[in-house]
């Protein structure tokens, strides 16, 4: 299998399209005959990252690199940034608006769901600029 790259643009505030990038990626990964459980874990991680951009940022992009050993996903956004990453990682902590919460988002579980479903998670954030999430999933052959 050769390296494959995919990119999905993300739009802040657009809850109608939320999940579109993750669903598109999941369909591609399923076609690669990867372990269904691994594909589901990636689906959870990418969905949460996508929803974070939709709920908090102005816009973003999801970049995916699939290689034989690992799947690397980088989600970059232009937005407010995360003031306290330690706090944001705590389950139950959320800064989501009431409107977002009424839809069942903003449970404060997004980042911890990403952490639990990937092998490695790195977060870089700059206030009033944006956030970069880098998630790595190893493919065990």
């Amino acid at each position: 299998m050769k390296d494959m790259k995919f990119e999905y643009p993300l739009e802040g505030g657009d809850f109608i399209k939320a999940g579109y990038a993750s669903s598109s990626l999941k369909k591609i990964l399923n076609q690669l005959n990867l372990d269904p459980d691994l594909v589901r874990r990636i689906a959870v991680a990418t969905y949460e990252a996508e929803v974070n951009v939709v709920a908090h940022a102005f816009r973003g992009i999801m970049k995916v690199l699939v290689s034989p050993e690992r799947i690397l996903i980088r989600v970059e956004d232009e937005g407010p940034g995360i003031p306290d990453i330690g706090k944001a990682m705590q389950e139950g902590y959320s800064t989501a608006s009431d409107r977002v919460r009424e839809m069942g988002f903003g449970a404060g579980m997004g980042l911890s769901n990403i952490k639990k479903n990937t092998d490695k998670l790195e977060i870089h954030s700059e206030l009033n600029k944006g956030t970069v999430l880098e998630m790595t999933t190893l493919i065990k052959g």
């Binding site: 999940g19 993750s22 669903s23 269904p36 969905y47 949460e48 929803v51 988002f105 449970a107």
Partner: protein, 115 residues
């Protein structure tokens, strides 16, 4: 146990996926928080919720859940039904409340040794 059995025994309404009701049910999960479902629900489970907006379809599809059951007589929005048909998600409804729905389902699953 398949979705068809659940529809018949609980007298459910089918909003979408009527042609897919042979799908197996491996268990159930109840929650109205999407990230909770993303984190805790397992593949093949039936998801019981009161949420009716379109985003529930992506959650069910990404997690490979067997179906979504909307309680309290909630009606999914038209775009939710369209998305469900497109993604192959079974969308069901009941006028019952979550608690009684879960009780009935639990008894059914006990009989089939699923719980």
């Amino acid at each position: 146990m398949n979705i068809e059995n659940v529809i018949n025994e609980l007298g459910l309404q089918v909003f979408a996926g009527a042609d897919k009701t042979g799908r197996q049910v491996k268990g159930a999960y109840v929650s109205d928080l999407l990230s909770d479902v993303m984190g805790k629900a397992r593949e093949g489970e039936l998801w019981i919720t009161m949420q009716t907006h379109k985003n529930i379809i992506a959650v069910a599809s990404l997690k490979d859940l067997s179906a979504i059951l909307i309680v309290n007589g909630g009606r999914p929005e038209e775009e939710t039904i369209v998305a469900a048909e497109r993604e192959g998600v079974i969308l069901l409804g009941t006028g019952d409340r979550s608690f009684s729905t879960c009780g009935k389902l639990y008894k059914m699953m006990e009989r089939d040794a699923l719980v």
